[in-house]
Protein backbone atom coordinates (compact mmCIF):
# COMPACT_ATOMS: atom_id res chain seq x y z
CA UNK A 1 0.00 0.00 0.00
CA UNK A 2 1.41 3.38 -0.98
CA UNK A 3 1.87 5.96 1.77
CA UNK A 4 -1.29 7.97 1.20
CA UNK A 5 -2.22 10.65 3.68
CA UNK A 6 -5.87 9.86 3.43
CA UNK A 7 -6.29 6.59 1.66
CA UNK A 8 -9.75 5.81 0.41
CA UNK A 9 -11.81 3.90 2.88
CA UNK A 10 -12.92 1.15 0.57
CA UNK A 11 -13.11 -1.36 3.35
CA UNK A 12 -16.68 -0.55 4.21
CA UNK A 13 -19.44 -2.84 3.30
CA UNK A 14 -21.22 -2.70 -0.05
CA UNK A 15 -23.16 -5.80 0.79
CA UNK A 16 -26.91 -5.98 0.88
CA UNK A 17 -28.94 -9.17 1.30
CA UNK A 18 -28.55 -9.86 -2.44
CA UNK A 19 -24.74 -9.64 -2.49
CA UNK A 20 -21.78 -7.25 -2.45
CA UNK A 21 -22.42 -4.86 -5.31
CA UNK A 22 -21.16 -1.31 -5.65
CA UNK A 23 -23.13 -0.58 -8.83
CA UNK A 24 -26.51 -2.03 -9.77
CA UNK A 25 -28.64 -1.45 -12.84
CA UNK A 26 -32.23 -2.55 -12.37
CA UNK A 27 -34.26 -2.76 -15.59
CA UNK A 28 -32.77 0.46 -16.96
CA UNK A 29 -34.05 1.89 -20.21
CA UNK A 30 -32.70 4.98 -21.92
CA UNK A 31 -33.94 6.66 -25.04
CA UNK A 32 -32.91 9.93 -26.64
CA UNK A 33 -35.25 12.50 -28.08
CA UNK A 34 -34.24 13.09 -31.68
CA UNK A 35 -36.46 15.60 -33.49
CA UNK A 36 -39.39 14.66 -31.27
CA UNK A 37 -38.90 10.92 -31.78
CA UNK A 38 -37.74 8.68 -28.91
CA UNK A 39 -34.74 6.71 -30.16
CA UNK A 40 -33.91 3.84 -27.78
CA UNK A 41 -30.26 3.54 -26.72
CA UNK A 42 -30.49 1.00 -23.90
CA UNK A 43 -33.19 -1.63 -23.46
CA UNK A 44 -33.71 -3.25 -20.09
CA UNK A 45 -30.23 -3.29 -18.62
CA UNK A 46 -29.82 -5.48 -15.52
CA UNK A 47 -26.26 -5.51 -14.27
CA UNK A 48 -24.45 -5.87 -10.97
CA UNK A 49 -20.86 -4.79 -10.51
CA UNK A 50 -19.00 -6.12 -7.49
CA UNK A 51 -16.87 -4.01 -5.17
CA UNK A 52 -13.18 -4.18 -6.07
CA UNK A 53 -13.49 -5.80 -9.48
CA UNK A 54 -12.43 -4.49 -12.87
CA UNK A 55 -15.57 -4.79 -14.92
CA UNK A 56 -15.35 -4.45 -18.68
CA UNK A 57 -18.19 -3.40 -20.92
CA UNK A 58 -17.49 -4.09 -24.57
CA UNK A 59 -19.53 -3.11 -27.58
CA UNK A 60 -19.27 -1.62 -31.03
CA UNK A 61 -19.73 2.12 -31.42
CA UNK A 62 -23.41 2.87 -31.18
CA UNK A 63 -24.08 -0.16 -28.97
CA UNK A 64 -24.83 2.20 -26.05
CA UNK A 65 -21.77 1.64 -23.88
CA UNK A 66 -20.92 5.33 -23.46
CA UNK A 67 -24.52 5.98 -22.45
CA UNK A 68 -24.41 3.05 -20.05
CA UNK A 69 -21.32 4.32 -18.22
CA UNK A 70 -22.77 7.85 -18.05
CA UNK A 71 -25.81 6.54 -16.22
CA UNK A 72 -23.53 5.57 -13.33
CA UNK A 73 -22.64 9.20 -12.53
CA UNK A 74 -25.88 10.53 -13.98
CA UNK A 75 -24.31 12.48 -16.82
CA UNK A 76 -27.24 10.78 -18.56
CA UNK A 77 -30.58 10.25 -16.82
CA UNK A 78 -32.30 6.89 -17.22
CA UNK A 79 -35.67 7.05 -18.98
CA UNK A 80 -36.89 4.32 -16.63
CA UNK A 81 -35.41 1.88 -14.14
CA UNK A 82 -33.02 2.44 -11.28
CA UNK A 83 -29.26 2.89 -11.00
CA UNK A 84 -27.78 2.24 -7.55
CA UNK A 85 -24.28 3.29 -6.60
CA UNK A 86 -23.14 2.18 -3.16
CA UNK A 87 -26.77 1.18 -2.49
CA UNK A 88 -28.01 4.72 -3.06
CA UNK A 89 -30.25 5.44 -5.99
CA UNK A 90 -28.22 8.06 -7.84
CA UNK A 91 -31.00 8.59 -10.37
CA UNK A 92 -33.23 9.84 -7.52
CA UNK A 93 -30.74 12.24 -5.87
CA UNK A 94 -31.28 15.97 -5.51
CA UNK A 95 -28.65 18.36 -6.90
CA UNK A 96 -26.58 18.62 -3.69
CA UNK A 97 -26.57 14.87 -3.00
CA UNK A 98 -25.72 14.21 -6.63
CA UNK A 99 -22.61 16.44 -6.46
CA UNK A 100 -21.55 14.67 -3.28
CA UNK A 101 -22.05 11.24 -4.88
CA UNK A 102 -20.19 12.30 -8.01
CA UNK A 103 -17.14 13.07 -5.87
CA UNK A 104 -17.16 9.36 -5.00
CA UNK A 105 -17.06 8.38 -8.69
CA UNK A 106 -13.93 9.24 -10.68
CA UNK A 107 -13.98 9.29 -14.45
CA UNK A 108 -11.36 9.28 -17.20
CA UNK A 109 -12.01 9.89 -20.87
CA UNK A 110 -10.79 8.95 -24.34
CA UNK A 111 -9.69 12.52 -25.05
CA UNK A 112 -8.52 13.14 -21.47
CA UNK A 113 -10.67 16.29 -21.06
CA UNK A 114 -8.04 18.19 -19.09
CA UNK A 115 -8.32 21.93 -18.57
CA UNK A 116 -5.91 23.40 -21.11
CA UNK A 117 -5.65 26.68 -19.19
CA UNK A 118 -4.46 25.00 -15.99
CA UNK A 119 -1.15 23.34 -15.15
CA UNK A 120 -0.85 19.64 -14.37
CA UNK A 121 -0.84 20.52 -10.65
CA UNK A 122 -3.97 22.69 -10.93
CA UNK A 123 -5.76 20.06 -13.01
CA UNK A 124 -5.24 17.45 -10.31
CA UNK A 125 -6.10 19.99 -7.59
CA UNK A 126 -9.29 21.00 -9.42
CA UNK A 127 -11.68 18.39 -7.93
CA UNK A 128 -10.27 19.12 -4.45
CA UNK A 129 -10.89 22.85 -4.90
CA UNK A 130 -14.40 22.11 -6.18
CA UNK A 131 -15.12 20.14 -3.02
CA UNK A 132 -14.14 23.23 -1.02
CA UNK A 133 -13.20 21.29 2.10
CA UNK A 134 -9.42 21.08 1.69
CA UNK A 135 -6.84 23.65 2.88
CA UNK A 136 -4.12 24.78 0.42
CA UNK A 137 -1.58 22.76 2.42
CA UNK A 138 -3.74 19.63 2.21
CA UNK A 139 -4.23 20.15 -1.52
CA UNK A 140 -0.49 20.55 -2.07
CA UNK A 141 0.27 17.35 -0.17
CA UNK A 142 -2.47 15.31 -1.82
CA UNK A 143 -1.62 16.47 -5.36
CA UNK A 144 2.05 15.74 -4.65
CA UNK A 145 1.20 12.16 -3.65
CA UNK A 146 -1.03 11.62 -6.66
CA UNK A 147 1.52 12.97 -9.13
CA UNK A 148 4.20 10.80 -7.54
CA UNK A 149 1.94 7.75 -7.86
CA UNK A 150 1.34 8.28 -11.58
CA UNK A 151 4.99 9.25 -12.16
CA UNK A 152 4.52 12.88 -13.18
CA UNK A 153 6.11 14.75 -10.28
CA UNK A 154 8.56 16.64 -12.50
CA UNK A 155 5.76 17.75 -14.87
CA UNK A 156 3.65 19.49 -12.21
CA UNK A 157 4.04 22.99 -13.63
CA UNK A 158 3.58 22.05 -17.29
CA UNK A 159 0.41 22.64 -19.26
CA UNK A 160 -1.45 19.69 -20.84
CA UNK A 161 -0.44 20.78 -24.36
CA UNK A 162 3.19 20.10 -23.41
CA UNK A 163 2.50 16.45 -22.49
CA UNK A 164 2.25 13.24 -24.52
CA UNK A 165 -1.02 11.33 -24.74
CA UNK A 166 0.03 8.79 -22.12
CA UNK A 167 1.11 11.55 -19.73
CA UNK A 168 -2.21 13.36 -20.25
CA UNK A 169 -4.11 10.20 -19.36
CA UNK A 170 -1.97 9.81 -16.23
CA UNK A 171 -2.97 13.35 -15.25
CA UNK A 172 -6.57 12.30 -15.91
CA UNK A 173 -6.15 9.28 -13.63
CA UNK A 174 -4.53 11.37 -10.86
CA UNK A 175 -7.38 13.89 -11.14
CA UNK A 176 -10.01 11.15 -11.04
CA UNK A 177 -8.44 9.67 -7.88
CA UNK A 178 -8.04 13.00 -6.05
CA UNK A 179 -11.25 12.78 -4.03
CA UNK A 180 -10.73 9.13 -3.03
CA UNK A 181 -13.50 7.70 -5.17
CA UNK A 182 -14.98 4.25 -4.64
CA UNK A 183 -15.49 3.77 -8.36
CA UNK A 184 -13.43 4.73 -11.41
CA UNK A 185 -15.19 4.94 -14.77
CA UNK A 186 -12.98 4.61 -17.86
CA UNK A 187 -14.61 5.70 -21.11
CA UNK A 188 -12.43 4.36 -23.94
CA UNK A 189 -9.50 5.56 -21.85
CA UNK A 190 -6.82 3.96 -24.03
CA UNK A 191 -8.44 4.27 -27.46
CA UNK A 192 -6.45 7.40 -28.36
CA UNK A 193 -3.11 5.91 -27.24
CA UNK A 194 -0.50 3.86 -29.05
CA UNK A 195 -0.11 0.15 -28.07
CA UNK A 196 2.88 0.68 -25.80
CA UNK A 197 1.28 3.59 -23.93
CA UNK A 198 -1.97 1.63 -23.74
CA UNK A 199 -0.06 -1.18 -22.04
CA UNK A 200 1.44 1.13 -19.39
CA UNK A 201 -1.87 2.91 -18.69
CA UNK A 202 -3.67 -0.44 -18.32
CA UNK A 203 -0.95 -1.61 -15.97
CA UNK A 204 -1.39 1.54 -13.87
CA UNK A 205 -5.15 0.92 -13.71
CA UNK A 206 -4.59 -2.69 -12.61
CA UNK A 207 -2.18 -1.53 -9.89
CA UNK A 208 -4.58 1.12 -8.61
CA UNK A 209 -7.35 -1.47 -8.54
CA UNK A 210 -5.25 -3.72 -6.29
CA UNK A 211 -3.75 -1.00 -4.08
CA UNK A 212 -7.01 0.70 -3.18
CA UNK A 213 -9.51 -2.06 -3.83
CA UNK A 214 -11.04 0.43 -6.25
CA UNK A 215 -13.90 -0.76 -8.44
CA UNK A 216 -13.09 0.06 -12.07
CA UNK A 217 -15.59 0.05 -14.92
CA UNK A 218 -13.88 -0.07 -18.31
CA UNK A 219 -15.77 0.80 -21.49
CA UNK A 220 -14.01 -0.27 -24.66
CA UNK A 221 -14.42 -1.65 -28.15
CA UNK A 222 -11.15 -3.59 -27.86
CA UNK A 223 -11.30 -7.11 -26.43
CA UNK A 224 -7.58 -6.90 -25.76
CA UNK A 225 -8.08 -4.18 -23.11
CA UNK A 226 -10.52 -6.43 -21.27
CA UNK A 227 -8.30 -9.49 -21.66
CA UNK A 228 -5.40 -7.67 -20.03
CA UNK A 229 -7.06 -6.23 -16.95
CA UNK A 230 -10.70 -7.32 -16.71
CA UNK A 231 -12.17 -9.63 -14.10
CA UNK A 232 -15.65 -9.81 -15.57
CA UNK A 233 -17.10 -8.53 -18.80
CA UNK A 234 -20.48 -7.66 -20.24
CA UNK A 235 -21.02 -7.61 -24.00
CA UNK A 236 -23.37 -4.91 -25.19
CA UNK A 237 -25.09 -5.18 -28.53
CA UNK A 238 -27.81 -2.81 -29.79
CA UNK A 239 -28.65 -1.53 -26.30
CA UNK A 240 -28.86 -4.97 -24.66
CA UNK A 241 -26.42 -7.03 -22.64
CA UNK A 242 -26.03 -10.24 -24.65
CA UNK A 243 -23.39 -11.98 -22.56
CA UNK A 244 -21.86 -11.47 -19.14
CA UNK A 245 -19.36 -13.49 -17.16
CA UNK A 246 -15.77 -13.97 -16.04
CA UNK A 247 -13.37 -12.69 -18.70
CA UNK A 248 -11.67 -16.08 -19.13
CA UNK A 249 -15.01 -17.85 -19.72
CA UNK A 250 -16.30 -15.26 -22.15
CA UNK A 251 -12.98 -14.95 -23.93
CA UNK A 252 -12.28 -18.67 -24.32
CA UNK A 253 -15.84 -19.83 -24.89
CA UNK A 254 -17.82 -16.94 -26.37
CA UNK A 255 -21.50 -17.82 -26.79
CA UNK A 256 -23.07 -14.88 -28.57
CA UNK A 257 -22.19 -14.02 -32.16
CA UNK A 258 -21.13 -10.48 -31.22
CA UNK A 259 -18.79 -11.83 -28.55
CA UNK A 260 -17.32 -14.37 -30.96
CA UNK A 261 -16.57 -11.57 -33.40
CA UNK A 262 -14.84 -9.51 -30.71
CA UNK A 263 -12.69 -12.46 -29.71
CA UNK A 264 -11.78 -13.20 -33.32
CA UNK A 265 -10.83 -9.57 -33.84
CA UNK A 266 -8.61 -9.72 -30.77
CA UNK A 267 -7.02 -12.99 -31.86
CA UNK A 268 -6.72 -11.85 -35.41
CA UNK A 269 -8.23 -15.04 -36.78
CA UNK A 270 -11.06 -15.65 -39.14
CA UNK A 271 -12.79 -18.89 -38.28
CA UNK A 272 -14.33 -19.31 -41.71
CA UNK A 273 -10.87 -19.14 -43.30
CA UNK A 274 -9.56 -21.66 -40.80
CA UNK A 275 -12.32 -24.16 -41.54
CA UNK A 276 -11.53 -23.96 -45.24
CA UNK A 277 -7.83 -24.48 -44.54
CA UNK A 278 -8.52 -27.55 -42.39
CA UNK A 279 -10.70 -29.23 -45.03
CA UNK A 280 -7.77 -31.22 -46.44
CA UNK A 281 -6.41 -32.23 -43.05
CA UNK A 282 -7.15 -35.87 -42.12
CA UNK A 283 -8.47 -37.12 -38.76
CA UNK A 284 -10.57 -35.50 -36.09
CA UNK A 285 -10.20 -31.82 -35.41
CA UNK A 286 -10.49 -30.75 -31.78
CA UNK A 287 -9.91 -27.56 -29.86
CA UNK A 288 -8.22 -27.87 -26.47
CA UNK A 289 -8.24 -25.06 -23.94
CA UNK A 290 -5.74 -24.98 -21.09
CA UNK A 291 -6.08 -22.63 -18.18
CA UNK A 292 -3.82 -21.63 -15.34
CA UNK A 293 -0.83 -23.82 -14.43
CA UNK A 294 -1.97 -26.73 -16.61
CA UNK A 295 -0.94 -24.52 -19.56
CA UNK A 296 2.67 -25.40 -18.74
CA UNK A 297 2.15 -29.14 -18.10
CA UNK A 298 3.14 -31.77 -20.68
CA UNK A 299 -0.41 -33.11 -21.05
CA UNK A 300 -0.33 -33.49 -24.84
CA UNK A 301 2.74 -35.73 -24.90
CA UNK A 302 1.54 -37.88 -22.01
CA UNK A 303 -1.85 -38.54 -23.55
CA UNK A 304 -0.32 -39.26 -26.96
CA UNK A 305 2.00 -41.87 -25.46
CA UNK A 306 -0.76 -43.48 -23.39
CA UNK A 307 -3.31 -43.75 -26.21
CA UNK A 308 -1.08 -44.11 -29.24
CA UNK A 309 -2.56 -41.14 -31.12
CA UNK A 310 -0.70 -38.89 -33.46
CA UNK A 311 -1.52 -35.23 -33.50
CA UNK A 312 -0.52 -32.15 -35.41
CA UNK A 313 -1.11 -28.60 -34.22
CA UNK A 314 -3.12 -26.67 -36.81
CA UNK A 315 -3.27 -23.38 -34.97
CA UNK A 316 -2.96 -22.10 -31.46
CA UNK A 317 -1.89 -19.43 -29.06
CA UNK A 318 -0.54 -19.26 -25.56
CA UNK A 319 -1.11 -16.01 -23.74
CA UNK A 320 -2.46 -14.54 -20.52
CA UNK A 321 -5.88 -13.33 -19.50
CA UNK A 322 -5.08 -10.77 -16.81
CA UNK A 323 -2.84 -12.87 -14.52
CA UNK A 324 -3.95 -16.29 -15.75
CA UNK A 325 -1.98 -18.07 -18.45
CA UNK A 326 -4.02 -19.96 -21.02
CA UNK A 327 -3.49 -21.90 -24.17
CA UNK A 328 -5.85 -22.73 -26.95
CA UNK A 329 -4.80 -25.27 -29.58
CA UNK A 330 -6.57 -26.74 -32.55
CA UNK A 331 -5.30 -30.26 -33.25
CA UNK A 332 -5.92 -32.89 -35.83
CA UNK A 333 -5.87 -36.32 -34.19
CA UNK A 334 -5.14 -39.49 -36.16
CA UNK A 335 -4.46 -43.14 -35.27
CA UNK A 336 -4.47 -44.79 -31.84
CA UNK A 337 -7.53 -44.49 -29.68
CA UNK A 338 -8.90 -40.98 -30.13
CA UNK A 339 -11.98 -41.38 -27.87
CA UNK A 340 -9.82 -42.36 -24.90
CA UNK A 341 -7.42 -39.57 -25.70
CA UNK A 342 -10.18 -36.96 -25.61
CA UNK A 343 -11.42 -38.45 -22.35
CA UNK A 344 -7.90 -38.17 -20.92
CA UNK A 345 -7.67 -34.56 -21.96
CA UNK A 346 -10.96 -33.83 -20.24
CA UNK A 347 -9.84 -35.73 -17.14
CA UNK A 348 -6.70 -33.57 -17.03
CA UNK A 349 -8.95 -30.51 -16.72
CA UNK A 350 -8.71 -29.29 -20.30
CA UNK A 351 -11.77 -28.08 -22.15
CA UNK A 352 -12.28 -30.25 -25.23
CA UNK A 353 -14.39 -29.16 -28.18
CA UNK A 354 -14.71 -31.40 -31.20
CA UNK A 355 -14.78 -29.22 -34.28
CA UNK A 356 -14.94 -32.09 -36.76
CA UNK A 357 -15.70 -35.66 -35.67
Amino acid sequence: MAPWANSPDNSHNFCNPQGCYVIEFIDVHKSFDVDGRAVPALNGIDLKIEAGEIFGIIGHSGAGKSTLVRLINLLEKPTSGRVLVDNQEISASNADDLREQRRGIGMIFQHFNLLSSKTVFDNVAFPLRLAGSYSPAQIKERVGQLLARVGLTEHASKYPAQLSGGQKQRVGIARALATNPKVLLCDEATSALDPQTTQSVLQLLAEINREFNLTIVVITHEMDVIRRIGDRVAVLDAGKIVEVGAVADVFLHPQHLTTQRFVQEAENVDEADEHDAFAHVPGRIVRLTFRGEQTYEPVLGQVARETGIDFSILSGRIDRIKDTPYGQLILSVTGGNPDTALQHFADAGLTVEVLRG
Binding site: L75, E100, F109, H111, L114, S116, S117, P127, L130, R175
Partner: protein, 221 residues
Protein backbone atom coordinates in the same frame (compact mmCIF):
# COMPACT_ATOMS: atom_id res chain seq x y z
CA UNK B 1 5.44 71.60 -40.33
CA UNK B 2 3.06 74.38 -39.42
CA UNK B 3 2.96 75.56 -43.05
CA UNK B 4 1.85 72.12 -44.13
CA UNK B 5 -0.89 71.95 -41.49
CA UNK B 6 -2.12 75.58 -41.61
CA UNK B 7 -5.60 74.75 -40.35
CA UNK B 8 -4.50 72.42 -37.58
CA UNK B 9 -5.01 73.74 -34.08
CA UNK B 10 -2.92 71.31 -32.06
CA UNK B 11 -4.67 72.12 -28.79
CA UNK B 12 -7.99 71.22 -30.46
CA UNK B 13 -6.45 67.96 -31.65
CA UNK B 14 -5.14 67.18 -28.17
CA UNK B 15 -8.56 67.94 -26.64
CA UNK B 16 -10.29 65.73 -29.22
CA UNK B 17 -7.82 62.90 -28.58
CA UNK B 18 -8.51 63.07 -24.87
CA UNK B 19 -12.26 63.09 -25.51
CA UNK B 20 -11.99 60.03 -27.73
CA UNK B 21 -9.88 58.15 -25.19
CA UNK B 22 -12.29 59.04 -22.38
CA UNK B 23 -15.39 58.10 -24.37
CA UNK B 24 -13.93 54.84 -25.59
CA UNK B 25 -12.42 53.74 -22.27
CA UNK B 26 -15.55 54.71 -20.29
CA UNK B 27 -17.90 52.88 -22.64
CA UNK B 28 -15.48 49.94 -22.88
CA UNK B 29 -15.64 49.37 -19.11
CA UNK B 30 -19.45 49.33 -19.08
CA UNK B 31 -19.61 47.21 -22.24
CA UNK B 32 -17.43 44.57 -20.59
CA UNK B 33 -19.44 44.66 -17.36
CA UNK B 34 -22.75 44.22 -19.18
CA UNK B 35 -21.69 42.19 -22.22
CA UNK B 36 -19.82 39.43 -20.38
CA UNK B 37 -22.79 38.32 -18.22
CA UNK B 38 -25.14 38.68 -21.20
CA UNK B 39 -22.83 36.51 -23.33
CA UNK B 40 -22.56 33.91 -20.54
CA UNK B 41 -26.36 33.81 -20.19
CA UNK B 42 -26.77 33.44 -23.96
CA UNK B 43 -24.36 30.50 -23.87
CA UNK B 44 -25.80 28.77 -20.80
CA UNK B 45 -29.47 29.02 -21.77
CA UNK B 46 -28.95 27.74 -25.33
CA UNK B 47 -30.01 24.26 -26.41
CA UNK B 48 -28.17 21.34 -24.79
CA UNK B 49 -26.30 23.66 -22.42
CA UNK B 50 -26.10 23.72 -18.64
CA UNK B 51 -29.10 25.98 -17.96
CA UNK B 52 -31.10 25.24 -21.10
CA UNK B 53 -34.05 27.66 -21.09
CA UNK B 54 -35.62 28.10 -24.51
CA UNK B 55 -37.75 31.09 -23.48
CA UNK B 56 -34.93 33.08 -21.90
CA UNK B 57 -32.55 32.28 -24.72
CA UNK B 58 -35.03 33.35 -27.39
CA UNK B 59 -35.73 36.61 -25.55
CA UNK B 60 -32.04 37.47 -25.00
CA UNK B 61 -31.14 36.51 -28.57
CA UNK B 62 -33.98 38.66 -29.95
CA UNK B 63 -32.92 41.73 -27.92
CA UNK B 64 -29.29 41.22 -28.97
CA UNK B 65 -30.20 40.87 -32.64
CA UNK B 66 -32.52 43.90 -32.65
CA UNK B 67 -29.91 46.16 -31.02
CA UNK B 68 -27.27 44.94 -33.44
CA UNK B 69 -29.53 45.60 -36.45
CA UNK B 70 -30.09 49.29 -35.72
CA UNK B 71 -27.53 51.52 -37.45
CA UNK B 72 -25.44 53.22 -34.78
CA UNK B 73 -26.29 56.76 -35.97
CA UNK B 74 -30.00 56.00 -35.52
CA UNK B 75 -29.33 54.39 -32.12
CA UNK B 76 -27.46 57.52 -31.01
CA UNK B 77 -30.55 59.66 -31.53
CA UNK B 78 -33.19 57.16 -30.39
CA UNK B 79 -31.61 56.63 -26.99
CA UNK B 80 -31.36 60.37 -26.16
CA UNK B 81 -34.30 60.21 -23.68
CA UNK B 82 -32.66 57.25 -21.91
CA UNK B 83 -29.29 59.07 -21.87
CA UNK B 84 -30.93 62.13 -20.29
CA UNK B 85 -32.51 59.89 -17.66
CA UNK B 86 -29.27 58.07 -16.83
CA UNK B 87 -26.58 60.79 -16.92
CA UNK B 88 -28.58 64.02 -17.00
CA UNK B 89 -27.23 65.20 -20.35
CA UNK B 90 -27.23 63.89 -23.88
CA UNK B 91 -24.22 66.02 -24.87
CA UNK B 92 -20.49 65.65 -24.68
CA UNK B 93 -18.44 62.68 -23.59
CA UNK B 94 -20.94 61.64 -20.91
CA UNK B 95 -23.83 61.78 -23.35
CA UNK B 96 -21.96 59.63 -25.85
CA UNK B 97 -21.12 56.82 -23.42
CA UNK B 98 -24.71 55.57 -23.01
CA UNK B 99 -25.39 54.97 -26.73
CA UNK B 100 -21.88 53.57 -27.19
CA UNK B 101 -22.50 51.01 -24.44
CA UNK B 102 -25.93 50.10 -25.82
CA UNK B 103 -24.45 49.70 -29.30
CA UNK B 104 -21.40 47.66 -28.29
CA UNK B 105 -22.81 45.43 -25.50
CA UNK B 106 -24.85 43.06 -27.74
CA UNK B 107 -21.92 42.92 -30.16
CA UNK B 108 -19.53 41.89 -27.38
CA UNK B 109 -22.09 39.49 -25.87
CA UNK B 110 -22.23 37.54 -29.16
CA UNK B 111 -18.43 37.41 -29.27
CA UNK B 112 -18.43 36.07 -25.69
CA UNK B 113 -21.03 33.44 -26.63
CA UNK B 114 -18.92 32.36 -29.60
CA UNK B 115 -15.76 32.17 -27.46
CA UNK B 116 -17.56 30.03 -24.83
CA UNK B 117 -18.85 27.65 -27.51
CA UNK B 118 -15.24 26.96 -28.42
CA UNK B 119 -14.64 25.38 -25.01
CA UNK B 120 -14.41 21.59 -25.36
CA UNK B 121 -17.69 19.97 -24.30
CA UNK B 122 -15.72 17.06 -22.89
CA UNK B 123 -14.06 19.39 -20.38
CA UNK B 124 -17.48 20.61 -19.22
CA UNK B 125 -18.66 17.00 -18.94
CA UNK B 126 -15.57 16.11 -16.90
CA UNK B 127 -16.24 19.05 -14.57
CA UNK B 128 -19.83 17.94 -14.09
CA UNK B 129 -18.62 14.43 -13.38
CA UNK B 130 -16.35 15.87 -10.67
CA UNK B 131 -19.37 17.42 -8.98
CA UNK B 132 -18.88 21.05 -10.05
CA UNK B 133 -21.78 23.49 -9.65
CA UNK B 134 -22.82 25.62 -12.61
CA UNK B 135 -21.18 28.60 -10.91
CA UNK B 136 -17.92 26.67 -10.48
CA UNK B 137 -18.06 25.60 -14.11
CA UNK B 138 -18.54 29.21 -15.28
CA UNK B 139 -15.75 30.72 -13.19
CA UNK B 140 -13.40 27.74 -12.95
CA UNK B 141 -13.74 26.25 -16.42
CA UNK B 142 -15.61 28.31 -19.02
CA UNK B 143 -13.96 31.69 -18.43
CA UNK B 144 -10.36 30.46 -17.95
CA UNK B 145 -10.62 28.03 -20.88
CA UNK B 146 -11.99 30.68 -23.24
CA UNK B 147 -9.69 33.48 -22.06
CA UNK B 148 -7.81 33.91 -25.38
CA UNK B 149 -11.12 34.10 -27.26
CA UNK B 150 -12.56 36.56 -24.73
CA UNK B 151 -9.50 38.82 -25.01
CA UNK B 152 -9.71 38.74 -28.81
CA UNK B 153 -13.42 39.62 -28.56
CA UNK B 154 -12.69 42.49 -26.16
CA UNK B 155 -10.04 43.86 -28.55
CA UNK B 156 -12.46 43.76 -31.49
CA UNK B 157 -15.10 45.46 -29.35
CA UNK B 158 -12.67 48.19 -28.27
CA UNK B 159 -11.81 48.99 -31.88
CA UNK B 160 -15.47 48.96 -32.85
CA UNK B 161 -16.05 51.47 -30.03
CA UNK B 162 -13.39 53.77 -31.53
CA UNK B 163 -15.14 53.67 -34.88
CA UNK B 164 -18.60 54.17 -33.25
CA UNK B 165 -17.24 57.09 -31.23
CA UNK B 166 -16.42 58.92 -34.47
CA UNK B 167 -20.18 59.21 -35.06
CA UNK B 168 -20.90 60.66 -31.67
CA UNK B 169 -20.36 64.14 -33.14
CA UNK B 170 -24.00 63.84 -34.20
CA UNK B 171 -25.04 64.37 -30.58
CA UNK B 172 -22.16 66.75 -29.85
CA UNK B 173 -20.06 64.00 -28.37
CA UNK B 174 -16.75 65.46 -29.51
CA UNK B 175 -13.59 63.47 -30.15
CA UNK B 176 -11.35 62.87 -33.15
CA UNK B 177 -14.02 61.57 -35.50
CA UNK B 178 -16.15 64.62 -34.78
CA UNK B 179 -13.17 66.88 -35.56
CA UNK B 180 -12.50 65.04 -38.80
CA UNK B 181 -16.11 65.43 -39.97
CA UNK B 182 -16.62 69.08 -38.91
CA UNK B 183 -13.29 70.53 -40.06
CA UNK B 184 -11.88 68.01 -42.48
CA UNK B 185 -15.06 67.13 -44.36
CA UNK B 186 -17.51 69.99 -43.91
CA UNK B 187 -14.92 72.83 -44.15
CA UNK B 188 -12.59 71.12 -46.63
CA UNK B 189 -9.62 71.33 -44.23
CA UNK B 190 -7.92 68.22 -45.55
CA UNK B 191 -4.93 68.65 -43.22
CA UNK B 192 -7.15 68.36 -40.14
CA UNK B 193 -8.76 65.24 -41.56
CA UNK B 194 -5.39 63.67 -42.31
CA UNK B 195 -4.05 64.37 -38.80
CA UNK B 196 -7.12 62.96 -37.03
CA UNK B 197 -7.30 59.91 -39.25
CA UNK B 198 -3.59 59.21 -38.70
CA UNK B 199 -4.06 59.43 -34.93
CA UNK B 200 -7.02 57.01 -35.15
CA UNK B 201 -5.00 54.59 -37.26
CA UNK B 202 -2.11 54.65 -34.79
CA UNK B 203 -4.53 54.15 -31.88
CA UNK B 204 -6.20 51.15 -33.52
CA UNK B 205 -2.84 49.63 -34.44
CA UNK B 206 -1.52 49.93 -30.89
CA UNK B 207 -4.67 48.44 -29.31
CA UNK B 208 -4.84 45.55 -31.79
CA UNK B 209 -1.18 44.78 -31.15
CA UNK B 210 -1.65 44.75 -27.37
CA UNK B 211 -4.74 42.55 -27.77
CA UNK B 212 -2.92 40.08 -30.01
CA UNK B 213 0.01 39.90 -27.59
CA UNK B 214 -2.34 39.14 -24.70
CA UNK B 215 -4.09 36.41 -26.72
CA UNK B 216 -0.76 34.74 -27.43
CA UNK B 217 0.31 35.14 -23.82
CA UNK B 218 -2.78 33.35 -22.51
CA UNK B 219 -2.98 30.62 -25.19
CA UNK B 220 -2.07 27.17 -23.87
CA UNK B 221 -2.95 25.07 -26.87
Amino acid sequence: MNELFTNVDWSDIWQATQDTLLMVSGSFVFTMLLGLPLGIMLFLTDRRQLLEQRGIYTLLAAITNILRSIPFVILLITVIPLTLLLVGTSLGVQGAIVPLVIGATPFFARLVETALREVDRGVLEASQAMGATTRQIVFGVLLPESRPGLIAGATTTLITLISYSAMSGVVGGGGLGDLAIRYGYQRFQTDVMVVTVVILIVLVQILQMIGDKLVVHFSRK
